[in-house]
């Protein structure tokens, strides 16, 4: 089976979030970047497990500049066979999805996996866009995935319960918690990653359809109002009369 896993980089969860250039750009100074957890822990690891069981090849792909290479090397160390970096600095999801879909269409993948969202932009956009651009099926937020022949069996959480479904390959699937367990790369993997291919290819020049004009930080929260544990009724009073939520 020929599997493509799309990887995005994201600032570590504990990063301080600040902006530069008149609040139009995320300030990357001193920020530790990681592989977006949904892409790594769930999509990549489940892809590797499927490859290990069914045979085939697993390629990872990112749309980004040279700063993406440590992220791609890490994914190679976890076990991907080869990496592709489409050389561009995309500014919206359409641009990312169009570049990825172009590559995926030209290279006949059976299965495209990616995380359900990135932890920086929280968009949940790229997977669905890719599937529409490739004219293949899309299943989002999958927490279980198996493949037999040309059929993927999937479970996904949705409102009010869990949906059990089947999709015909090729398809795009976005991964959520539950699909796999995080794998820590071992020394052998890290050494092997150094000699695995990382191909840089030119972007097709897809357009951004939206642009972020400014970032702001939310208003600082006022100090917590502490209530005497002996006088819990006061909390109910405040929630009703002051906060007006009950």
């Amino acid at each position: 089976m020929n599997i493509l896993v799309c990887i995005s980089k994201a600032p570590d969860t504990t990063s301080k979030i600040t902006f530069t250039d008149g609040n139009t750009k995320f300030n990357e100074d001193g920020v530790q970047f990681i592989v977006n957890p949904y892409d790594e822990w769930y999509a990549l690891v489940r892809g590797l497990e499927l490859k290990e069981t069914l045979g085939g090849k697993l390629t990872i792909i990112s749309v980004g500049g040279a700063d993406y290479e440590p992220i791609l090397r890490k994914a190679l160390a976890i076990g991907a066979d080869e990496a592709v970096r489409i050389d561009a600095n995309p500014t919206d999801s359409n641009q990312v999805a169009a570049e990825l879909a172009n590559y995926a269409k030209a290279n006949n993948f059976d299965l495209v996996l990616l995380g359900k969202e990135t932890i920086n932009y929280n968009g949940s956009q790229v997977g669905g866009m890719m599937a529409a651009m490739m004219d293949v099926a899309y299943v989002s937020n999958a927490s279980k995935l198996d493949v037999a022949g040309t059929t993927a069996s999937i479970e996904r959480e949705k409102q009010g319960g869990t949906e059990v479904l089947e999709a015909q390959l090729p398809c795009v699937i976005s991964a959520a918690k539950g699909m796999a367990e995080q794998r820590i790369p071992n020394m052998r993997g890290i050494m092997a990653a150094r000699s695995k291919p990382l191909n840089v290819i030119a972007a097709s020049g897809a357009a951004a359809l939206t642009e972020t004009v400014s970032y702001t930080l939310p208003d600082a929260k006022g100090a917590v109002k502490l209530i005497d544990p002996e006088n819990v009724a006061e909390l109910v009073n405040l929630l009703h009369n002051e906060a007006k939520v009950i």
Binding site: Q125, G128, K221
Partner: protein, 320 residues
């Protein structure tokens, strides 16, 4: 301008978030037509409820019951063409997250997901959304004539008007599906859906064991709230996974979030920091959650929660 709103249905009614999306759409239309496209089995009273938010037309695809996002995207595209919609609105929920990106790609429209406020249409069309798991806000401008927006539930509220809509059966050809739904395992219980709950009571490891959740459920029932939990609690199986809120669980933004025995790790806050009011009950006065809270009680859950249940009962009795 003409606006189209996608209303997801569940168990014979439009989902609650669709009402807010309908009201949002009508406000953006600003005198233009606001249409709704919906599908599957949906009751007349639910249609009337949807219409009451200022809707001119409802296009009802009663011929489809499946949830294949590719087919739903084709349906919404056909409805957008039919109604001449410039803007298409989704709720940023499970279905919206699947269908909106497919639709945007089909229509070559710009897409902004998880929008939290009305657009600014002064010169350019811009919307606001939360980014970095709620730690910042971004203002995003559309560069396309057609626009797709998904609205984060519980962001703008809803306003009823006098309008009553024409309901038209609308079953365009959607092609075949390569996704087949085999089964839907509904969550047990009579509880309020967490994704729709305006009030949420949540608990963590501070409760010491799954046998102690009775008081959390009772407090939720008295308040009419949904129940949630922290990640460690769902990981060790004290509570079901669908209750897990946080970075890797679901993100919610209720009007009131009461956290009992949860320390407030940054990953947990990422799932709840959009809540309008946060109450923290914890024995540890240094728990980081107090920094994100509006109200706090430093005390033992096992004495505070029963007192809170009694106080809520008393309050409800006085209101009745």
């Amino acid at each position: 301008m003409n606006v189209l709103v996608f209303a997801d249905s569940f168990n014979g009614s439009a989902v609650k978030a669709a009402h807010e999306a309908a009201s949002y759409g009508a406000k953006i239309a600003n005198g233009g037509n606001t249409s709704i496209v919906t599908y599957g089995e949906i009751s007349e009273s639910s249609m009337n409820e949807l219409a009451s938010y200022g809707i001119t037309n409802i296009l009802h695809a009663n011929g489809i019951n499946d949830m294949d996002p590719a087919r739903l995207a084709k349906l919404v595209e056909a409805a957008a063409n039919e109604t001449g919609a410039e803007v298409v609105i989704f709720s940023h929920d499970y279905t919206g997250k699947s269908v909106a990106p497919m639709l945007a790609a089909r229509m070559k429209a710009g897409l902004v997901t998880g929008v939290i406020d009305y657009p600014s249409t002064d010169g350019s069309f811009t919307v606001k959304k939360a980014v970095f798991s709620g730690k910042a806000l971004a203002e995003v401008k559309f560069n396309t004539e057609k626009k797709v927006i998904s609205l984060l539930p519980n962001s703008v509220g809803k306003t009823k008007t006098e309008a009553s809509a024409n309901v038209t059966v609308f079953n365009p050809d959607l092609g075949t599906s390569s996704v087949t739904i085999k089964e839907f395992k509904a969550k047990g219980g009579e509880g309020i859906l967490l994704t729709e709950a305006e009030l949420v009571v949540s608990a963590g490891r501070g409760l010491k064991g799954p046998e102690n959740w009775g008081m959390i459920e009772e407090l939720a029932k008295e308040l009419g709230a949904g129940t949630a939990c922290s990640r460690p609690v769902s990981d060790i199986g004290w509570r079901p996974h669908h209750e897990h809120v946080g970075q890797t669980g679901i993100a919610i933004r209720p009007n009131l979030y009461i956290a009992v025995g949860i320390s407030g790790a940054i990953q947990h806050l990422a799932g709840v920091n959009g809540s309008k009011v946060i109450v923290v009950i914890n024995t540890d006065s240094d728990a980081p959650f107090f920094k994100a809270a509006d109200y706090g009680i430093v005390g033992d859950a096992f004495t505070v929660v029963p007192k809170l249940i009694a106080a809520v009962k008393e309050f409800k009795a006085a209101q009745a």
